[in-house]
């Protein structure tokens, strides 16, 4: 698993997302509730638009969430599962801060199609 540098940690706005381009793939990175970090696919599976980074973050029960800005489906940021339709899921990526730099790594699911 290889971590790719994204940006300085300070570039992440609190309780919002940013989009990043990693190996040609769009990733949405969120900083929520102080210092929790999440990274998921930027593709909204319901609209097909690359917009998940622009969703509103929050929580449902204990789960950290992001809502699609298009049709408002809510996703669990930790697992990527859509809480309004569990048959749909966002890909989830590993994210960490290393030496003040946010880094993302793709989990080892089949990338090639």
């Amino acid at each position: 698993m290889t971590y790719r540098s994204i940006c300085p940690y300070a570039r992440l706005p609190l309780d919002r997302g940013v989009a990043a381009l990693v190996d040609g793939e769009q990733v949405a990175v969120f900083r929520t509730d102080g210092d929790e970090l999440y990274a998921v696919s930027n593709l909204d599976p319901f609209s097909g638009a690359m917009v998940m980074s622009r969703g509103i973050v929050g929580s449902r029960g204990d789960r950290p969430t992001v809502a699609s800005p298009v049709y408002k489906q809510v996703f669990d940021l930790a697992t990527g599962v859509c809480l309004d339709d569990p048959t749909v899921r966002l890909r989830v990526h590993d994210v960490r801060v290393h030496d003040g730099i946010v880094e993302v790594a793709f989990q080892t699911e089949a990338l090639s199609a």
């Binding site: 940006c7 919002r16 990043a20 969703g55």
Partner: protein
């Protein structure tokens, strides 16, 4: 020893069978091998036409990512079964694998029927059945002008919709004297025809296609009567034929009119062989709908588990939305029951047709047809066969003004089936609420499955939940969401009285959790209404929905549209030129809005500040098209130019628009000012409408266009401009203070105890002593208004959000693609886009797994 179930065919019914095998535990002892002829897993064939409107094949897929990863499931895509040996109990696939089975289910579906006329096959002649067919249709339609669909039934109209959305001049050719002859009667067919023609699709009924001739690079359709028709392509959608070739070759019995003959257990004429779905002839016929196929799948799984359920026919009721037109037919729609009576209500102008079939004593509902407005279908279908309480005419007449619709969920018998897809009765839903503890639709969906398939019963489920909670004495919570027990109005009061200015303070003192997409934008709106601070200031940026966050309107492809304010619709040539130059320089699609301004589409996030810098430099400001706030004050030219105008409507409209611009409110607010009673500004369809009189102005409130149109009610007559503005100030501010989240003024007033009279008492007679406060609040708003785009451009921190990629701000989003149309851009449809890199499409992952 594990047993093997082989399923031949992975369509909707084949996949349902696999799902049921997993859900009901059959896979504890059985392995399931599925052979699919198509190269993609099961998809929603019913929703096929949405592919042309941009729904991707991935979105149509019925198979959740990872579903077939289970070791007991094996999906073999693109590898159809070519032979069945019922003696050796094996199947042989095209790839040459031989698989022994303990049970075999044929779910091969059907093929499109192409009438045997000369020239029915060849280039430009297509069918409409599979995703592959759609791709071929899209390819054949590229650059072409006209297309015809042979068949005016359900699939034919879907195919016509597809051709229409591909930009072709489309003609539907139907052999019968009307469209959808199976589902609707003559009058219903006429209503449907008017609606279809209203969409620009030509209709030829009683047309028997005799031949399709090639004329150069076009096609000429020749009919038994009438003029021939020149087109570029012909799509045959004239019915389906069961795909029973495999069964015939295996020596299984088939029905006279085709289809694998099966008994009530869906068993074919060889041991342990079953057939389900459109390839089967069950209970005397082939069933061309998905619901009976699902029932058959359930019967087979039950039998394999040792059960004794049986398939004895199905309800052929259907409700469809074809080209946006509702068509429903249920029960004995053609009044074939002896002595049956028909109750018909028709509005030929609106294209609304409703027919109910009742028993000869008018007591029992037998069936019906709805065309145009099928909203009563979910309620009527379950009432079929039951006694009607009250006058049956109430069931078919539209709701009259001032009266609620004649029927409600309470009228349904307990045994009535509410959700036909999942077979859930009213009693089950009520008990999920009463005993199961469900408190909302989402809970009932999760608990009973009702409303989870086609969704047409969700409104009815909602009514049932409400009436059941009422009956239990449980009052519906006004809490915004799980994070706040406050209603929007209560949150407004708390913020205003306590002077809470930040989200963190509000959440800490009155909420819990981290908030969500309901409470955060509500809080942001309340902060803006009360303090009129910048919507992106402090921690408020994190609360805003993407529209308010980007100060622009998100469109379906992830780009935004930009609307500069054009007060009262009055615009100088200089401003028009700047708007035109900006649109040209940034390549934006330009369209005039209904609110008399100009919308510029297709701007990427990183372009928004550049676009706005130009507009602001030219003296323009935000139009707040993205906000829940005042949109426009539409006007006519009034007495200044018009021969009939009696007051200066344009000046008043501009004055009002500049006064209320930027006022954040529970929902959007639209206004209009007409200079005379001819009402050219359509003011009575607005939240606040003003119509000039000889003596001054008439003020109307609570109008609404859109989904639930409503004319505004007269509130004041013949008042002067000062009174008009004062009262409008108070109405708007009271609305901001007290309305619910996303509640327009019409339901706000309707929901007030005392209604319009109460509103008048509060804002005119000041019976609550609120007016001074409302006046002060509006004065503060007017005084503190600033253009939020100009302020954003001046603040580097606020500008940081307008970045495509945090690690590659110079790279525009590569997923955004446009194609030219009528001299401008439009978003590329999925089939027009180069495949965007990304591993997220479940279909492609499955392919790679099984390759």
């Amino acid at each position: 020893m594990r047993k093997t179930l082989v399923v031949v065919g992975h369509g909707m019914v084949g996949h349902r069978l696999v799902e049921l095998a997993v859900e009901r535990g059959l896979t504890a002892e059985w392995d399931v091998v599925v052979h699919a002829a198509e190269s993609v897993p099961a998809y929603d064939r019913v929703g096929l036409s949405s592919w042309f409107r941009g729904t991707t094949s991935a979105e149509l897929s019925l198979v959740p990512e990872g579903f077939f990863d289970a070791p007991e499931l094996d999906l073999r895509l693109g590898d159809p079964v070519v032979a069945v040996d019922v003696d050796a109990r094996t199947v042989t696939s095209a790839a040459g694998t031989v698989t022994p089975y303990d049970a075999l289910v044929l779910a091969t579906g059907s093929t499109a029927f192409v009438p045997p006329v000369p020239g029915a096959t060849g280039p430009g002649r297509l069918v409409y059945r599979t995703l592959d067919d759609l791709e071929q249709i899209a390819a054949a339609a590229a650059g072409k002008r006209a297309g015809a669909v042979v068949g005016g039934g359900l699939l034919g109209l879907e195919a016509a919709d597809a051709l229409r959305s591909l930009g072709l001049e489309t003609t539907v050719v139907e052999f019968a004297p009307r469209l959808m002859p199976v589902q609707v009667d003559e009058a219903g067919g006429q209503a449907l025809r008017r609606l279809v023609e209203g969409l620009g699709v030509r209709v030829r009924t009683s047309a028997s296609t005799q031949a399709v001739e090639e004329t150069g690079d076009r096609l000429r359709m020749v009919f038994a009567e009438g003029e021939p028709l020149e087109v570029d392509l012909v799509v045959f959608s004239a019915g389906i034929r069961p795909d029973d070739a495999l069964a015939r070759a295996a020596g299984l019995m088939t029905a006279e009119r085709g289809g694998v003959l099966v008994d009530e257990a869906c068993r074919a004429s060889a041991p342990d062989v079953y057939a389900v779905g459109e390839c089967a002839s069950a209970a005397g016929r082939c069933w061309g709908l998905v619901a009976p196929g699902y029932d058959q799948a359930a019967v087979v799984v039950d039998r394999l588990l040792g059960g004794a359920s049986s398939f004895e026919g199905a309800d052929l009721s259907t409700k469809l939305k074809l080209m946006g037109i509702d068509v429903a037919s249920f029960g004995d729609a053609h009044a074939e029951t002896a002595g049956a009576l028909e109750l018909v209500w028709a509005d030929p102008v609106a294209g609304d047709y409703r027919k109910l079939v009742v028993s000869d004593d008018t007591r029992t509902l037998l069936g019906g047809i709805l065309v145009g407005d099928a909203s009563a279908y979910p309620l009527l279908r379950p009432m079929c066969g039951t006694e009607i309480a009250g006058n049956p005419a109430d069931l078919v007449l539209p709701a009259r003004e001032g009266q609620p619709a004649g029927i409600g969920a309470a009228a349904l018998p307990a045994s009535a089936q509410v959700c036909s897809c999942r077979d859930v009765s009213k009693a089950e839903i009520c008990s999920a609420v009463a005993q199961g503890g469900c408190r909302d639709v989402a809970g009932v969906k999760a608990c009973t499955g009702a409303g989870t398939v086609c969704g047409s019963c969700v409104g009815l489920v909602q009514d049932l939940v409400r009436s059941e909670l009422d009956a239990m004495g449980v009052s519906l919570s006004t809490a915004l969401c799980e994070h706040f027990d406050l209603s929007r109005a209560e949150m407004f009061e708390v913020v205003r009285v306590k002077g809470i200015r930040t989200w963190s303070e509000l959440l800490a003192e009155h909420g819990r959790g981290r908030g969500c997409d309901i409470c955060k934008p509500t809080a942001a709106s309340v902060f803006a209404s009360v303090f009129n601070d910048h919507v992106l200031g402090g921690d408020k940026g994190s609360l805003q929905d993407t529209n308010d966050h980007m100060l622009a309107n998100l469109q379906k492809d992830g780009t935004y549209s930009v609307v500069p304010r054009i007060p009262g619709g009055e615009v100088t040539p200089e401003h028009l030129i700047v708007i035109g130059e900006v649109a040209r320089d940034f390549g934006l699609y330009t369209k005039i809005t209904g609110g008399q301004r100009i919308d510029l589409f297709g701007a990427r996030v990183e372009q928004l500040p550049l676009v706005w810098q130009r507009l602001v430099d030219a003296g323009m400001e935000s139009g707040h098209a993205y906000g829940k706030s005042l949109r426009t004050v539409k006007s006519c030219v009034g007495s200044t130019w018009c021969r009939y105008g009696v007051q200066d409507s344009t000046t008043l409209a501009i004055e009002l628009e500049l006064r209320y611009r930027g006022l954040r409110s529970p929902h959007k607010v639209k206004m209009g000012v007409s200079g005379c009673a001819r009402e050219c500004a359509e003011a009575r369809s607005k939240d606040v409408g003003i119509i000039a009189t000889e003596n001054g102005w008439n003020l109307y409130v609570g109008g609404n266009g859109g989904f639930r149109p409503r004319h505004a009610d007269l509130f004041l007559s013949d008042v002067d401009t000062e009174t008009l503005v004062r009262i409008t100030d108070r109405i708007l501010m009271l609305y901001v203070f007290t309305a619910d989240r996303l509640q327009r003024t019409a339901p706000w007033i309707e929901g007030m105890e005392g209604g319009l009279e109460h509103l008048r008492a509060v804002v005119v007679d000041d019976t609550l002593g609120l007016c001074a406060e409302l006046d002060a609040a509006m004065a503060r708003h007017v005084e503190t208004y600033r253009d939020e785009w100009a302020e954003t451009l001046a603040d580097p921190e606020k500008l940081a959000r307008f970045t495509s990629f945090v690690n590659a701000p110079e790279v525009p989003d590569p997923s955004i693609a446009f194609v030219p149309e009528r001299g401008q851009i439009r978003p590329a449809r999925p089939d027009e886009k180069p495949l965007v890199a990304g591993p997220v499409l479940p279909i492609r992952e499955l392919r790679s797994v099984r390759a």
